[in-house]
């Protein structure tokens, strides 16, 4: 097991280095130097060069990358060009919110997909409903679904707050009320794809001998489904959920914008519009490392569960 972890990490490290280098080179080479942007078009070349030197933008690319990555590894991302706040503080403020939103979305999709797809009564009706929700999840963009939910639940029925954000410290109830619609918006897509994965596994587990044994013992269909088939069908879903968390960041960016939540997504969008390099780079770095780590965890979880991979790896 240790050898497997070591080999996976050995593959991961060069990947992270290459990707962060690409990110760094792309953002700093293509967008023009920040000095030129900050000083505007009227600035003389001398003042631009001076500010470039001050910001360390006159050094060769590899040197600048090294400076940045060694700082980033110790949690030092520099200061934002637009707010002058340390970037690490901005990330620390925004990250918990995005993670919480992502965890809620994944949890709801995970539990929902497993429970709903194991239903044994009114099966054909439930299957049609799942298919309907799945089509919505795959084809309706997050921003439209979010607005639709706001319109129905907040504007028409006035049940939930429209947009904005309420911290845990303002009260748990208030906090959760603000979380319901964003989590629902984000979870729909994942419910669809989780349902597909779970249903496929469920169908193959259903053919096992132990299911037939349980049935011949005279157990009720729902007990067979929830106690015998569900626990044995859930493993692929765990790996899949781990892999999805990385992709979920994309949906979170849009969802946070719809509900004006101060998370990583909004940080990134604002940074891109303002050409705020340190923030862009830091958010990009957090996403790259986060995705790689989650893939590693999903990989390890899978090999813990499936001994065949463990001995082979």
């Amino acid at each position: 097991m240790l050898a497997l972890i070591a080999s996976r990490i050995a593959v991961m490290i060069p990947n992270v280095i290459i990707l962060t280098f690409l990110l760094f080179a792309a953002t700093t080479q293509f967008l023009g130097t920040p000095a030129a942007i900050m000083l505007g078009e009227d600035a003389s070349p001398e003042t631009v060069a001076e500010l470039n030197a001050q910001l360390g933008f006159d050094a060769p690319l590899l040197v600048r990358y090294w400076d940045w990555i060694s700082g980033a590894l110790s949690g030092e991302f520099g200061r934002s060009y637009s707010t002058q706040q340390p970037v690490s503080e901005m990330i620390a403020d925004a990250l918990p919110l995005t993670l919480e939103l992502a965890v809620w979305a994944i949890l709801i999709a995970f539990i929902g997909a497993a429970l709903v797809n194991s239903v044994t009564f009114l099966k054909s009706l439930v299957e049609k409903l799942v298919a309907g929700v799945s089509v919505i999840g795959i084809t309706v963009p997050n921003f439209f679904l979010g607005l639709l939910l706001i319109y129905i639940f907040s504007v028409q029925f006035r049940l939930l707050p429209t947009t904005g954000w309420s911290d845990w410290s303002d009260g748990v109830g208030k906090h959760l009320m603000h979380m319901i619609l964003p989590a629902l918006t984000l979870t729909t897509f994942y419910f669809s794809s989780f349902s597909l994965v779970y249903k496929a596994e469920y169908k193959s587990v259903e053919n096992n001998l132990f299911v037939r044994a349980a049935r011949s013992k005279g157990l009720s269909e729902s007990r067979i489904s929830y106690r015998h088939i569900l626990p044995n069908s859930i493993l692929p879903l765990i790996t899949y959920a781990g892999l999805s968390l990385g992709q979920l960041v994309g949906g979170a960016v849009v969802t946070e914008t719809v509900f004006s939540m101060p998370g990583m997504g909004r940080l990134l969008v604002n940074a891109i519009s303002a050409r705020d390099f340190p923030v862009m780079l830091a958010v990009g770095m957090v996403i790259i490392v986060g995705v790689m780590l989650l893939n590693l965890l999903a990989d390890l979880a899978y090999s813990l569960i499936n001994p065949m991979v463990r001995t082979a790896g």
């Binding site: 921003f143 607005l147 960041v249």
Partner: protein
């Protein structure tokens, strides 16, 4: 070719014809100019303005009809780019296997794991927002899916008896690829092409919604949703109607692609 068309496929094709017609005949269908501002701002839906007017007095229905053009252009162009990049990579990886395959799969997997929307955000920020840049970006971002799919299909075709027979008669690799592998992977590629169009339209609308996609004053659905969302409580139709247009178009291409996959 006497295969019966499924209901899903027929529905998808009918919707496709309607959407394409809207794009082609926009100047005749749309009753007003999509960009001409008037003083009749935020008008309620009426016989004259089916869906009312926006905050600059432009007819919403006309803007949605014209918006079809940009969406279809970006969607189709991005899917072409994705196939042009992804299919050769998948073909090489699947056919030659070994080290090339190992290396390419590593690259493909990394790019599939990264969130496509965030990648697209960063790349469009680099290149600057325009319809052409948006198409290229979305094509590049969705290419890995095509590559993985083609690779899987080539793996299957490569093991068939007719390929083995061709190899036994001394056929060259390039001949086998051209005569056997490519024709037998085309079907999967076409299905994925339709799915990729829907994915690109979905993502480009999201980028425009974030203000980093199709630049104004182009009538663009994502941008319309963004502008209209400020008036959600008083004029919900301003943001919900273009949002519905995106969903319907994405649904159409998804339906066609997925029923092509189910057909065999």
């Amino acid at each position: 070719m006497t295969k019966k068309l499924s209901f899903r496929m027929i529905l998808g094709l009918v919707l496709l014809v309607i959407i394409t017609a809207a794009a082609l005949f926009a100047p005749w269908i749309a009753p007003f100019s999509p960009t001409q501002t008037t003083t009749a701002v935020l008008a309620e839906p009426s016989l004259e303005h089916f869906l009312g007017t926006d905050q600059l007095g432009r007819d919403v229905f006309s803007r949605i009809i014209w918006g079809t053009r940009v969406s279809l252009q970006v969607g189709a162009a991005a899917a072409v780019v994705a196939v042009l990049i992804g299919a050769p990579i998948g073909l090489i990886a699947g056919f030659f296997r070994g080290r090339i395959d190992f290396f390419l799969v590593q690259v493909i997997d990394i790019f599939i794991a990264l969130p496509g929307l965030v990648l697209a955000l960063i790349i469009t920020a680099m290149l600057g927002p325009s319809v052409v840049n948006l198409s290229i970006t979305l094509g590049v971002v969705t290419a890995p899916t095509v590559a993985r799919l083609v690779r899987g299909q080539v793996f299957v075709v490569r093991e068939t008896l007719f390929v083995e027979a061709a190899r036994a008669t001394g056929a060259s690799s390039s001949w086998i690829i051209r005569k056997h592998i490519m024709p037998n992977t085309m079907r999967v590629v076409w299905a994925q092409f339709a799915i990729n169009v829907s994915l690109a339209i979905f993502t480009s609308a999201s980028l425009s919604y974030l203000g980093l996609g199709v630049p104004p004053p182009n009538p663009d659905w994502g941008g319309m949703v963004r502008d209209g969302s400020m008036f959600l409580p008083i004029r919900p139709v301003l943001s919900l109607a273009p949002g519905f247009a995106v969903a319907l178009t994405v649904f159409t291409f998804y339906l066609i692609g997925s029923s092509m996959n189910d057909a065999d």
